[in-house]
Amino acid sequence: MNRLGELERAIMDVLWETSEPLTVRQVSGQLTERDLAHTTVMTVLDRLAKKGFARRERDGRAWRYRAAASREAYVTELMLNALDQTGDRQAALARFVRSVSGAEARALRRALEALNPPGRLDRARQADSLEDAAEG
């Protein structure tokens, strides 16, 4: 991932950590990387705002930025696209397995047993999952 992408991610991480809007200076202060120019941070925040990931409001002479939505919301959006559940028949992505019906999933699990009778590793995983199920 390139430099700009890393910066965008680092800055979004800062925005996701705090709930109240931050100025550019405050965002700079929270970044782990200390040598960033003020203008660099401002540019990246501007880009994020244009892409819709950050929202900004004026506070006197300065702008204050905050995340437009939570990290979980974006992960969910990503997930809905990845699992083809957006109802938008676009085929923008190429999935390894397209949607699987419940009946087919059950049949596949039976097939898995036939192919891979539980060896030592599987039995260990099976035991783990039964334990967890018993606890939770």
């Binding site: 939505a69 919301a73 974006y74 676009q90 190429a94 699990r109 039995r123 099976q126 967890d132 939770g136």
Partner: protein, 408 residues
């Protein structure tokens, strides 16, 4: 009606049952590339013939101006349209009712042509937009992992593996899939996705997807898109086989398929609460579709909450714990281990143990077809059969194209 128009009409009408027949055929799995070529020829043939038949109906009887022999349908139609418009403009009184119908027919042909072009362009633009958005999200949320070199990993417990095709392509494996598959299976998945990217299968699929968006109501369009999508997956499977053994790819397919594909309900609840306050585009899209997917996920988690009985339910329960708490790891592990072990866990007593040969069961499912093909490969088509397929494809395109454009 001239013989040319008759032939075009027959080709256009005949494409529909031909498509149905091809979608139901068994041989495409033996040579996916040839089958895809035939599908493309069929689609192009239908487009040319339908536009040509409509335009040609307006062109009137066949032979062109005295002494020039047979004129291509396009030229004839445009000539007739020009003549009719000129007549109407200069001699409005000389009403020839047939002329109006001819004009309408030519116009209909033009409209269909414009529609087909538009739909293709619009679909491509929508896909580009969606991919850019997805790549932006990946930049913010995904990270690399040594287990999958060259791919990105996103932290969610549902098992997903996919790629974002295009000039700036990405391969994405979810954390759930990373837990579910072993190293060899992951390598097979990566090889499969790389094949999609290298061969630009997305471009092959695009016209069929565009046609489906334009003719959403058409069962044939749906079957065509489904058939071509499956063939494209088979092509990628075949390419992956050059680098990895068939069995690894097959078990990867089964594991990912068996793990189910539902967005965990807990994650949706969080997204819903957040997006109540704002109007950001991405979140709104997720919440809107999430309402639909959420009821499915809720159904799944209600039906089976114990690990080992329902992988979808188990990963929903695990993911709920995972996304709500700061310690996502613990919850994710419960969810994905349960999903991964559900196959073995099914033995723990809830599935009726049949003596069935699992790979053949539920054969209409895409995963089952691909797995069966991998584990029991059928011989490819003979050279004669391949020649027949390619010849048919050529003929399907040549006939309407000739009638439309060539004057002789």
């Amino acid at each position: 009606m001239s013989p040319a128009v008759l032939i075009l009409a027959v080709v256009a009408a005949g494409s529909v049952p031909a498509a149905s027949a091809l979608a139901s055929a068994r041989w495409p799995g033996r040579s996916p590339a040839a089958a895809i070529l035939l599908w493309q020829a069929l689609g192009l043939s239908w487009g040319l013939a339908a536009v040509g038949a409509l335009a040609g109906l307006g062109a009137g009887p066949g032979p062109g101006p005295a002494g020039t022999g047979q004129v291509g349908v396009v030229r004839a139609a445009l000539a007739v349209a020009a003549r009719v418009l000129r007549d109407k403009a200069f001699w409005p009184g000389a009403a020839d009712p047939l002329a109006d119908l001819r004009l309408v027919s030519v116009a209909a042909g033009l409209v269909l042509f414009a529609l087909l072009c538009w739909v293709l362009v619009a679909a491509f633009a929508a896909v580009l937009r969606a991919r850019r958005r997805h790549r932006d999200l990946l930049t913010l949320l995904a990270h690399g992992d040594p287990k999958v070199p060259g791919a990105l990993v996103v932290d969610y417990p549902a098992a997903a593996a996919y790629c974002v095709p295009g000039l700036r392509s990405r391969i994405v494996i979810s954390a759930g899939a990373l837990k579910l598959l072993d190293q060899a299976e992951l390598a097979a998945v990566l090889a499969h996705e790389r094949a999609h990217l290298r061969e630009r299968h997305d471009l092959v699929l695009l016209p069929f997807n565009a046609l489906l968006r334009a003719f959403r109501w058409s069962a044939v369009a749906r079957r065509a898109e489904g058939a071509v999508a499956l063939l494209v997956e088979m092509l990628a499977d075949d390419h992956a086989l050059r680098h990895r053994p068939a069995r690894e790819l097959a078990t990867a397919l089964i594991r990912v398929g068996a793990a189910g594909s539902r967005v965990p309900s807990g994650a949706l609840a969080i997204a819903g609460a957040e997006n109540g306050a704002g109007d950001d585009g991405g979140g709104a899209g997720a919440a809107g579709a999430g309402a639909r997917a959420g009821t499915d996920a809720a159904g799944a988690s209600a039906a089976g909450a114990r690990a080992g009985t329902d992988a979808a339910g188990a990963s929903a329960a695990g993911a709920r714990a995972g996304t709500e708490s700061a310690g996502a790891e613990n919850g994710a592990r419960t969810g994905t281990d349960a999903a991964g072990a559900s196959a073995a866990g099914a033995r723990a007593g809830t599935e009726a143990a049949g003596a069935e040969n699992g790979a053949d069961d539920g054969g209409c499912g895409e995963v089952a077809v691909r797995v069966a093909r991998l584990l029991r490969p059928a011989p490819g088509l003979s050279a004669a059969a391949l020649a027949l397929v390619c010849g048919t494809a050529g003929l399907l395109v040549a006939v309407p194209a000739t009638l439309l454009f060539i004057s002789f």
